[in-house]
């Protein structure tokens, strides 16, 4: 029977208070300028924008951003069909302007460039950002994005990231599923092949790896389960017995926070990857919230804001975003709820649903 003030004082002593304002400022700084050591992120700057915007959305702090400017910048990353439509299989969104194509915020056709093509993770995060910012996707060339997506799927059902070729694994299956889900159009992929890939990636221990034969992993397990949920096929693809075994594999990942593989150290981001998977499987409620929350908050940077993978480590946008989402799954006060499959706020998800309703009505 302690008072609210006493509880607040205690939590700040144990360093278990969530420093909302600091994290808002952390994301605001991310959206401005990053130091040169962020060079490896040039081709994926759009994903950093996603972490910041979706993070601010979950923090209920989107009012701090200039939405119209951001929307323009995101649209400038769309690889548009050229006049002769010869590049349709390369359409989608870029991660940044690194190729050197002239600025074009999706007003008019694309400029032909031999090396200009979309990247599946950027198309996914680009669309997600637009939705979070309240855009109606009216400047998205949906058919071109879907054609670009089809061009990325391999015979085994998995996806490349780019049409020029790249590695292929469960991450890009997830990105593809998100794109189809957001565009409300599954013609972007052969669903059955993707499902087969997911089944073949299930390990002897019932976790799911990045591909067939590979070690089961919290990230790929999320990607697989979330993809099946978005397809609406989870319970058709896995029997109840198989689902039980996946639940067991996932729930064993909790040590205090969560790790991604047996006998590996815990890492803040798995509080989301594994937590969200458990939520999709209906058993997140049976995890230990106190230990999970304590761990996540132990990785909070009290000075600079943000979260890191481990305590006393440097925070970064990815771990900050997933730390916050991990807390949101547990119903942390001041945080918006996150849709565990699509990984955007429930509020943004609902605005997407309304958009889908409008599209469906228009087509009838």
């Amino acid at each position: 029977n302690i008072s609210t003030e006493q509880r607040k004082a205690e939590s700040s002593d144990e360093q278990e208070d969530f420093l909302r304002e600091r994290h808002v400022r952390f994301f605001q700084r991310c959206l401005q300028v990053l130091p040169e050591r962020y060079a490896p992120y040039e081709t994926s700057r759009l994903t950093i924008v996603f972490f910041a915007l979706s993070g601010l959305d979950v923090l209920d702090a989107l009012d701090v951003v200039d939405k119209p400017s951001l929307i323009e910048w995101i649209y400038s990353l769309q690889v548009l069909p050229t006049d002769d439509k010869s590049n349709l299989s390369r359409c989608g969104f870029r991660g940044s302007s690194h190729i050197g194509v002239p600025y074009n915020s999706s007003k008019g056709p694309g400029a032909p460039h031999t090396y200009d093509s979309g990247h599946v993770a950027m198309t996914y995060t680009g669309l997600a950002c637009l939705i979070i910012l309240g855009d109606d996707l009216s400047r998205v060339c949906r058919e071109a994005c879907l054609a670009g997506l089809r061009a990325l799927q391999l015979e085994d059902g998995s996806f490349y990231a780019v049409p020029e070729g790249s590695e292929n694994d469960m991450r890009f299956v997830y990105c593809a599923a998100c794109i189809c889900f957001m565009l409300d159009d599954w013609s972007g992929m052969d669903r059955q092949r993707a499902i087969d890939y997911i089944r073949r990636s299930t390990s002897y221990d019932s976790g799911i790896g990045q591909g067939a034969g590979l070690e089961s992993h919290g990230g790929s397990t999320f990607c697989a389960v979330a993809s099946l949920c978005m397809m609406g096929n989870l319970q058709e693809v896995f029997s109840e017995r198989e689902l039980k075994r996946i639940r067991r594999w996932c729930i064993l990942r909790q040590q205090n926070g969560f790790h991604g593989r047996p006998n590996k150290p815990v890492d803040t981001c798995y509080s989301f990857w594994v937590g969200a998977t458990l939520e999709l499987l209906d058993v997140f409620q049976y995890t230990n919230f106190e230990k999970n929350r304590s761990y996540i908050l132990s990785t909070q940077d009290r000075l600079v804001g943000g979260f890191a993978k481990w305590p006393d480590s440097h925070p970064d946008p990815l771990h900050t975003y997933f730390g916050i989402c991990g807390l949101s799954l547990m119903g942390e006060a001041e945080l918006q709820k996150v849709h565990p499959a699509l990984n955007i706020s429930v509020r943004a998800f609902e605005s997407l649903r309304r958009l889908h309703e409008a599209w469906r009505q228009k087509s009838t």
């Binding site: 991310c30 460039h113 990607c223 939520e279 209906d282």
Partner: protein
């Protein structure tokens, strides 16, 4: 793209505290050329041999977001790279520039793609390229692009002869590097290089019996060679031996459970006895959970070798042991397992969760207690 899982993440600190980092690489001074010289280094835009190319800057429009503060040197190299790309130039100078660009940012997949285009167009020495990529991977073993590049070169050469040794070298520095294992599995499957791998796995397990990647590889090798039919007992005994050495090892228990799934845990002769024997000296939450799974299998298959009621009771007792003593972090989960077993195999009224109202479920699935058949 940077991984959605483990990547080495640089810092975002308070920008007022942080100055720009600059790399001071001293190139050979080219004294006869005019233009800004910095410790002998000349920007590409000032080099005579590059004068025909107009550098192409990045264009983020009026309101750039997540702008990275590049040094002048960095910008200069990439502005020239963009110029080459625009013209699709296929030349030695272009090839040389890709190496400079890679050194500054080895995660730029466009640079790697362009380098591959040049490797073919200029008919470059792929053996030399193997040496190059070997060095880069040693330096940055968690980068996706470098492993993909190596795979392409190996494919072009159709020569996997260095691969297993190379991957072993990388694994000797980090025995769980997912990229390394992925490459290893690709090589083995593509070129049918299965010999000696089981021995290699056993070496790794000697070094660290808790290496989950090594256990996974064990399963990979055996499934693709002999299969489990003829050697199942050997594997069961091997695994039990490893468990005795390190009882609290989820990987070994997962392996044991995994290889016995097809036949069914409750059907394997002597297994219940062997595992029960371990209870005193090798107790762990994994052992207890294994027994729960074994009993559940007996119930599910309605095995005549087991008394159904007694088996259910034992399973419920073990769930309680796990919830209260052996695996308390998962207390609620083991109680849920208990309730599910009771509802599925019990003969009384269905059990529901505690009297507190259940938390609202935000998941896609319709219900929260999927226990009915």
């Amino acid at each position: 793209m940077s991984s959605v899982e483990e990547i080495s993440n640089p810092v975002v600190e308070n920008l007022e505290e942080d100055g720009l980092e600059e790399e001071n690489t001293v190139e050979e001074a080219e004294m006869e050329y005019e233009g800004p010289v910095k410790g002998g280094y000349i920007f590409y835009r000032d080099r005579k041999e590059w004068a025909d190319l107009e550098p192409v800057p990045q264009d983020d429009g009026p309101n750039p977001v997540v702008k990275i503060a590049y040094s002048e040197k960095f910008t200069d190299v990439f502005d020239m790279f963009r110029a080459l790309l625009k013209n699709d130039e296929k030349s030695e100078r272009a090839f040389a520039l890709t190496a400079e660009a890679i050194e500054l940012n080895a995660a730029n997949y466009t640079v790697w793609h362009y380098r591959r285009v040049l490797l073919q167009a200029l008919d470059k020495d792929l053996r030399e390229e193997m040496k190059y990529i070997t060095a880069i991977i040693e330096d940055q073993p968690k980068n996706y692009q470098v492993w993909h590049h190596r795979r392409m070169v190996v494919e072009w050469l159709n020569d996997p002869s260095e691969e297993l040794q190379f991957v072993a070298e990388i694994l000797s520095q980090d025995a769980k590097n997912y990229h390394a294992w992925q490459h290893r599995q690709w090589v083995m499957q593509e070129y049918k290089l299965w010999d000696g791998e089981l021995e290699y796995v056993e070496e790794l397990l000697e070094e660290d019996v808790r290496n989950n990647s090594a256990w996974n590889q064990r399963h990979f090798v055996i499934s693709h060679t002999s299969g489990y039919s003829a050697i199942l007992e050997r594997e069961v005994q091997y695994t039990l031996k490893q468990i005795k050495k390190a009882p609290h090892n989820e990987s070994a228990w997962n392996y044991l459970n995994g290889i016995l799934q097809d036949g069914g845990l409750s059907s394997y002769p002597g297994l219940l006895e062997q595992v029960t024997e371990l209870q005193d000296t090798c107790s762990s939450p994994y052992l207890t959970a294994f027994l729960v799974d074994l009993y559940e299998d007996a119930l599910e298959t309605n095995s005549s070798s087991y008394d159904q009621q007694e088996t259910l009771n034992k399973a419920l007792e073990l769930c309680k042991l796990l919830a209260e003593e052996k695996d308390t972090i998962r207390r609620e989960y083991w109680n849920y397992v208990s309730r599910s077993l009771q509802n599925t195999y019990g003969s009384g009224d269905p059990v529901s969760s505690s009297s507190d109202p259940p938390p609202p479920s935000s998941s896609q699935q319709p219900d929260t207690e999927p226990s009915d058949p």
